[in-house]
């Protein structure tokens, strides 16, 4: 199994290397004439107003939190799914209980308006 992960590691390095090589070749070929107007940040063609920060909506945070909870739940369920064919019915019922508890959590979030994009 170590050879599997070695392959994955090498593949990742190759996959990082190929676009990087292409970009390096492009940076050698392309013209390079920087001037301050070209390098200024884009704001629909006018000068930038204010420093670069935005009013951050708390809604992003709530979505990420709900995503995290369901991510962890799915990770718990994958070993169960792999062992599914060897399990008895009561074991499946227990995992269904796990899923129902989290479905209840989703419904709570829905009713409390946490899933609205304001």
């Amino acid at each position: 199994m170590l050879t599997d992960w070695l392959y994955v590691g090498l593949f990742f390095l190759v996959a990082l290397f190929l676009p990087a090589a292409a970009i390096i070749i492009a940076s050698l070929i392309a013209p390079r004439k920087p001037n301050p107007i070209k390098n200024s940040t884009y704001e629909c063609g006018i000068e930038t107003v204010g420093s670069t920060w935005i009013q951050f909506k708390a809604q992003y945070y709530i979505f990420t939190l709900v995503f995290l909870v369901f991510d962890v739940e799915a990770v718990f369920l994958y070993p169960f799914a792999v062992a599914y064919n060897q399990l008895a019915f009561y074991a499946v019922a227990e995992a269904v209980l796990f899923l129902l508890i989290l479905l209840g959590g989703l419904l709570y979030a829905w009713k409390k308006g946490a899933l609205e994009w304001v």
Binding site: L65, Y78, V82, A83, Q86, E94, F98
Partner: protein
């Protein structure tokens, strides 16, 4: 020095160095980026230990979810993106002393430990291993109760977060 040992040493060095960078770099966003590298290093360590399931879980949960959560937290609590926090406070030498003492004590304890090693059962990391983990999750005499309690814990976390966020809105 086999190839595996070299890979392990390089990975450990990268992980430790990125860990140090997380706490010493000035800009908070850069700290989050070094955190990604640290977590990747831990994933590679799991791969060296042949715990394939945990490599995937580490990347999916830590790098894919928790890092994003941390970055959003940084954005939520800082007025400007490039805000830098103070590196140390005035009494920095007290915790340095305590953790240095702890390090010395641990190294001493591990070096003088003479009780021999316990051989753990070699759990195959192949699909058999993951199926065994799955069966253990739902067997009443193994880990069923922690499995169900974990779901209630996740539910509690979800409800708590939504409650706090709703209060904030009002």
């Amino acid at each position: 020095m086999s190839a595996l040992q070299i890979v392990f040493l390089v990975t450990a060095l990268v992980t430790l160095a990125s860990g140090v960078m997380v706490v010493t770099v000035r800009k908070m966003m850069h700290a989050a980026l070094w955190l990604i590298l640290t977590l990747l290093g831990v994933a590679v360590l799991f791969a060296i230990l042949e715990a394939s399931f945990f490599v995937a879980v580490q990347v999916i949960i830590y790098i894919g979810a928790i890092t994003i959560l941390i970055i959003f937290t940084i954005m939520l609590t800082r007025r400007v993106m490039e805000d830098t926090g103070p590196q140390t406070n005035r009494l920095w030498w007290i915790p340095a002393l305590v953790s240095g003492g702890l390090l010395v004590a641990l190294v001493f304890a591990f070096i003088t430990w003479d009780r021999g090693y316990v051989d753990l059962d070699f759990l195959p990391g192949s699909a058999v291993g993951i199926a065994e983990l799955g069966k253990a999750f739902v067997s009443p005499d193994q880990f069923l109760i922690p499995f169900e309690v974990a779901s209630i814990l996740l539910l509690a976390a979800l409800i708590g977060a939504i409650y706090i966020a709703n209060e904030h809105k009002k």
